[in-house]
């Protein structure tokens, strides 16, 4: 399992299937040239939607609907991005997304660290049963119990409120599982016992030992939680019926139904919505890909 980390991002990949034909020079060159070519073609296919989106976002309305289409705008303009601040409250949508995702991330981190610590480091009656129940909830897709949850929000008068939108995103069973694994493997029982002998209460241990030591796993979980709340769609669609509460995803959707032909403006909005995720990805590419590959393997 340890080798997987190298295989994905670093130079120390294991010798693979190709290693045994090292003698044959020419066929191998042809082969690797063909692979490179195919890779490049694939890469172009992968980025075309992004390029097309960015290109359209800088086109004036007349050029957007010109035929044949220009891949590069002839008269680039930022007017679509300016339009985002005027015609639809995209700044508001953006801030809503930031607010919703931040609250969700903080709540998930808090509940996951506490839950992971208690489930990982203590023995108490009912522990295994409770842990199993929490994990089992992850198997059932969220959308399949959205109806009673919605009905509860109606009863609580939480429709069209931030708390209504955020509520389901306060907890994550995978988060508790992840933090439990992390705390079990990085924090020794001796350390906790030493703290107890020094007179630390359990709460004190939680805040001054466990919390600082779970930072690395917390970072990965934080990115995951933030992304999950950022891309929330079906739940906000049900709960938020006034546009002041729309998140970026919902704002963009409703906006495209209203201005279905103004693709310049729509693409500018899409770029704005994609941007935060891309920035995070550019900076943390390796960690993100590795953690996705590893969680895939472990579960």
């Amino acid at each position: 399992m340890r080798d997987t980390q190298h295989g994905i991002g670093s130079d120390t990949g294991l010798p693979g299937p190709g290693a045994s034909n090292r003698g044959k020079k020419l066929p191998e060159l042809v082969w690797s040239g063909a692979v490179q070519l195919a890779l490049m073609a694939g890469a172009i296919f992968m980025v075309i939607p992004f390029l097309w989106m960015i290109s359209t976002s800088f086109k004036p309305p007349t050029e957007v609907l010109s035929w044949p289409p220009n891949l590069v705008p002839k008269e680039p303009t930022a007017s679509n991005y300016v339009g985002l601040f005027g015609e639809a409250p995209f700044v508001r949508f953006f801030l809503n997304s930031v607010f919703i995702s931040t609250v969700s991330t903080v709540a998930i981190l808090a509940t996951s660290v506490v839950g992971g610590f208690v489930f990982g480091k203590y023995r108490f009656p009912g522990r295994d049963f409770l842990f199993l129940v929490l994990l089992a909830t992850a198997i059932v897709p969220f959308e399949s119990y959205i109806i009673p949850l919605y009905a509860r929000m109606v009863r609580w008068h939480w429709i069209n409120t931030y708390q209504g939108i955020i509520a389901p995103y306060l907890i994550m069973s995978f988060g508790i599982f992840l933090m439990r694994q992390h705390i079990n493997s990085t924090i020794s029982d001796e350390l906790l016992d030493a703290a107890r002998i020094d007179g630390c209460s359990e709460w004190r241990i939680l805040t001054s030992i466990v919390l600082p030591l779970s930072r690395s796993a917390g970072g990965a979980l934080g990115i995951f939680a933030f992304t999950q709340a950022w891309i929330a769609f079906m739940w906000p669609l049900l709960i938020a019926n006034v546009r002041e509460l729309f998140n970026m995803e919902l704002g963009l959707t409703m906006f495209q139904f209203r201005f279905s032909t103004d693709y310049g403006l729509l693409m500018a909005g899409s770029v704005l919505s994609v941007l935060p995720m891309i920035i995070v990805f550019v900076f943390l590419r390796r960690q993100i890909i590795e953690s996705i590959a590893l969680t895939g393997l472990k579960s």
């Binding site: 693979g16 290693a19 059932v140």
Partner: protein, 305 residues
Amino acid sequence: MFEMGRRPGFLGYSSFERSKIAFCYLALLPILALFAILRIIPIIETFWLSLYDWKLVGSVRPFIGLANYQGLIGDEQFWLAIKNTSLYAGASVILGLTISLPIAVALAGKMKLSPFYQAIYFLPFITPMVPMAVAWKWIYDPRYGILNYILSFFGMQPIGWLIYPEIAIWALIAMNVWKNLGYNIVLLLVGLRNIPAVYYEAASIDGAAGWSRFRHITFPLLKPILLYVLVTSTINAFNVFTQVYVMTLGSQAAPGRAVRVLLYDIYENGFRYFRMGYASAEAVILTLIVLALTLVQFKLVKSEA
């Protein structure tokens, strides 16, 4: 960890242990309450509600037993949704693996996926669905879309990709394959690189190369991760909703052209027609499908381990 006696009953614990146990329950209380309210109770309620005729508004909520399920059996829209969702999931997963497997195998040699390609192939997977769905809707645009423009070079007439549900589902599948390709490749690469090199050395001594090497060594050893990707992708595909909503609903979210998938049908029955009990019955079916797939996954993991 402190030793805890095996004596039964709460009074058997020392006061120190008791204070630790009190801490556990106290710390877990808010978490358990949140899980109960936001996950456990709604999951149970869904099963419960599926036995009632419930319109959300009004206090009358007659118990009708399995009538909702009987209704589903005769409901053409429901069967269409099941058919579409299965087609979407099956085709996405098979196409996705058929495309990503050769790429991963080609890359698994000495070549490593350079950070540049890695970033590009992974980009669609990490970007949010709605902006990408809007971008693809623009690509698929019948009059000004770039896809019809490219196809016009090959002499093809413009196609209304998203206008007819029978075509639109394939447009959705293509986008899904595009979005998850990088994820598939990364997971398969991990699996390929975990195959010990000795197997290949032994094979080359026996004279196995190319296809026979792939068939007899790579494929069997890759099977666990292949199955893992297969099942998780299928589960994810069964929960498709956002792209359908964004790309195939008409202006003002008119449902005429929507590709009817399971979640869309639940959404429409529950939140357009307020047939909450009926929609709950559908949600139970969705849950059972996903549970069955998960069980298959657990079984596979166990048998391979």
